[in-house]
């Protein structure tokens, strides 16, 4: 099954049912499919061919969904980008995948001017609004025209299930972005598996506050388009009480978040005043959530099923889940493999570990990515004969439940973001009065982890200039909260920075101050 068949099947089964809802606006499956067809036909008229890449630069919205399915229906590959990225990230990722076109909303129009010179492959922009600085040799089509006018019939494009449907960029451990290439088959396998274990039905309505450009948000969208449910989109989680009101008004049955989502809800909202009569379940993924926070959610929402889940973008999203009725008994566990996935814990020699022994999680199944876009060497490092080497170290208990012990890579999880310290260190190294630096994640009550930079200075550092340099070159969420100047960094004999030691040093300092 192809990913856009989700939409096509439900446009036939439930033509007048709400597919998506946003700020009071609604779109039915029938309307959504017609708009996606029109956009697809527009893209084909603009010269898009099978396998071309088209970037989406917009926040989660009904328009994003139309763009997503329009691109797929044209036989092209969706590249949804983090709208909060710094200019150099946009430039690097879009150049990496050589996009032919961009679909953008009004907030992102200014980006085109900044990145255009680095993108010789860019032929057109489908834009929500006019903008005086679009380069002259790029064709500009208005989004509204593309969605409302033109041919609403399904384009006849031959697409195979092994064709790549989507590239999701993640921060690589080397600091340069890696494009996780997912086929229609990958996304279908993962979507149908999630729908099965969450028991999603056409009556389900999910509150979508997570951005669609990350794999977790993407899976919320796809699972509901697949089961014929509805996606209630709202990007105002900055004000959690608004989201709680919307959840009640729209009678949502599901809510999904990362640990920081739940920390904000429990500590910074009026959640205690709500009863959530229609809410059936919540899901949590995107990094480990503390058992204390899990217990707090159970106290506040005693009648709601809580699914703790684990996954990676490289696995289309999901790899394991813990059944809600095992939550207390197996607290701290990420559960067992989802349907259609096999997870094994292996030691460094490739031997399967016994219960209690720590090894790496190896995953196999139809949901495992095709590879990293144009990076065969990086792909080989993680995709091996026995499956995806996740880099996460775990052990199982006697009943086969998995417990993450540590993550082998140095990636930092802050809020909903997965951040490479290397990328930040590279930007810090470009600053003249810094000899070297190390960025670590330290525990944070709301974010899970927040960023701290240890810096070895060369003379005096002008902090104002340093912050300016970081703002120009990094997304806001990648800018360290704190800078600590040190004479040297602790290193192993092979010269690798002992990040663990820095984390301990920071914790000690926090305790004594």
């Amino acid at each position: 099954m192809l990913v856009h068949h989700f939409l096509e099947e439900n446009a036939e089964r439930f033509p007048y049912k709400d597919a998506a809802i946003q700020l009071g606006g609604r779109i039915s499956y029938l309307e959504l499919e017609a708009a996606a067809n029109r956009l697809a036909n527009t893209l084909i008229d603009l010269g898009i061919k099978s396998g071309d890449r088209v970037g989406i630069l917009m926040e989660s919205s009904i328009k994003y969904i139309i763009a997503y399915f329009g691109i797929l229906k044209a036989g092209a590959i969706v590249v949804g980008l983090n709208t909060q990225s710094a200019i150099r990230n946009f430039r690097n990722t879009l150049r990496d995948c050589q996009v032919s076109g961009l679909i953008i909303n009004k907030n992102m129009a200014h980006i085109v001017k900044e990145i255009y010179a680095a993108l010789p492959s860019l032929n057109f922009v489908v834009s929500e609004s006019s903008y005086s600085h679009f380069p002259k040799d790029v064709e500009v089509v208005f989004l509204l025209d593309a969605q409302l006018k033109g041919d609403p019939s399904r384009p006849a494009v031959a697409i195979k299930e092994d064709d790549i449907a989507q590239i999701i960029y993640t921060s690589g451990t080397t600091g340069s972005p890696k494009g996780v290439s997912l086929s229609h088959k990958n996304l279908y396998a993962n979507t149908s598996s999630i729908v099965k274990y969450l028991d999603l039905k056409p009556d389900d309505r999910v509150m979508a506050i997570l951005p669609f450009f990350y794999s977790y948000g993407n899976s919320l969208l796809l699972t509901h388009m697949y089961c014929g449910g509805s996606v209630v989109i709202d990007n105002r989680f900055a004000y959690p009480n608004i989201i709680l009101d919307i959840m009640a008004q729209e009678r949502v049955t599901g809510f999904s978040g990362v640990p920081s989502t739940f920390a904000i809800l429990m500590h910074k909202s009026n959640i205690h005043n709500y009863r959530f009569e229609h809410l059936r379940y919540i899901t949590q993924a995107g990094g480990p959530m503390s058992p204390a926070l899990t217990q707090k959610i159970m106290e506040v929402m005693p009648h709601i099923k809580i699914f703790i889940m684990y996954g990676q973008t490289e696995a289309s999203a999901r790899l394991s889940y813990l059944e809600p009725d095992k939550l207390l008994e197996k607290i701290g566990s990420i559960g067992k493999a989802i349907p259609g996935v096999k997870l094994t814990v292996k030691d460094e020699k490739g031997k399967v570990c016994r219960p209690g022994e720590v090894g790496e999680i190896i995953a196999s199944g139809d949901n495992i990515m095709v590879g990293y876009w144009n990076q065969p060497e990086e792909t080989k490092k993680v995709l091996k004969e026995d499956g995806l080497h996740t880099g996460d170290l775990a052990k199982t208990d006697e009943d086969g439940y998995l417990y993450i012990v540590s993550r082998r890579s140095d990636m930092i999880k802050s809020g909903a973001h997965r951040i490479s310290p290397k990328e930040i260190e590279e930007v810090l190294a470009e600053f003249p009065s810094i000899i070297e630096s190390a960025v670590i994640g330290v525990p944070d009550k709301i974010l899970g982890e927040s960023l701290v930079a240890f810096i070895v200075p060369n003379g005096k550092i002008d902090t104002k200039e340093l912050k300016k340099h970081l703002r120009l070159n990094l997304a806001v969420f990648k800018i360290p909260r704190e800078f600590i100047q040190v004479k040297s960094l602790p290193k192993t004999s092979s010269g690798k920075i002992k990040r663990f030691e820095l984390v301990e040093k920071y914790k000690m300092k926090a305790k004594t101050s």
Partner: protein, 82 residues
């Protein structure tokens, strides 16, 4: 420095990531312009609490109080009068 100027500087310094300061007018919605997200709001709240010496209550965490420079200035002035 005036409150509006302080707030403006904080937002430009922390959330505008290389965007031109002219893009922000005093009535612009910080959310709709894509300037601030959920953790950004919490940073803004910490800044207000530290700078102006009062606590932002959970039920005050609403766009009517925080979503533009002008709304922030009005909110801070109201709180300081109490």
């Amino acid at each position: 420095m005036e409150i509006a100027q302080q707030i403006n500087n904080f937002i430009i310094d922390n959330f505008m990531m290389g965007r031109s300061p002219e893009e922000l007018t005093e009535d612009d919605s910080l959310l709709e312009k894509g300037i601030i997200d959920s953790t950004g709001v919490l940073e803004l709240v910490s800044f207000i609490e530290e700078t102006y010496g009062f606590t932002v209550e959970d039920d005050e965490l609403v766009p009517e109080n925080l979503d533009s420079v002008n709304k922030l200035v009005n909110y801070i002035n109201r709180k300081r009068q109490h």
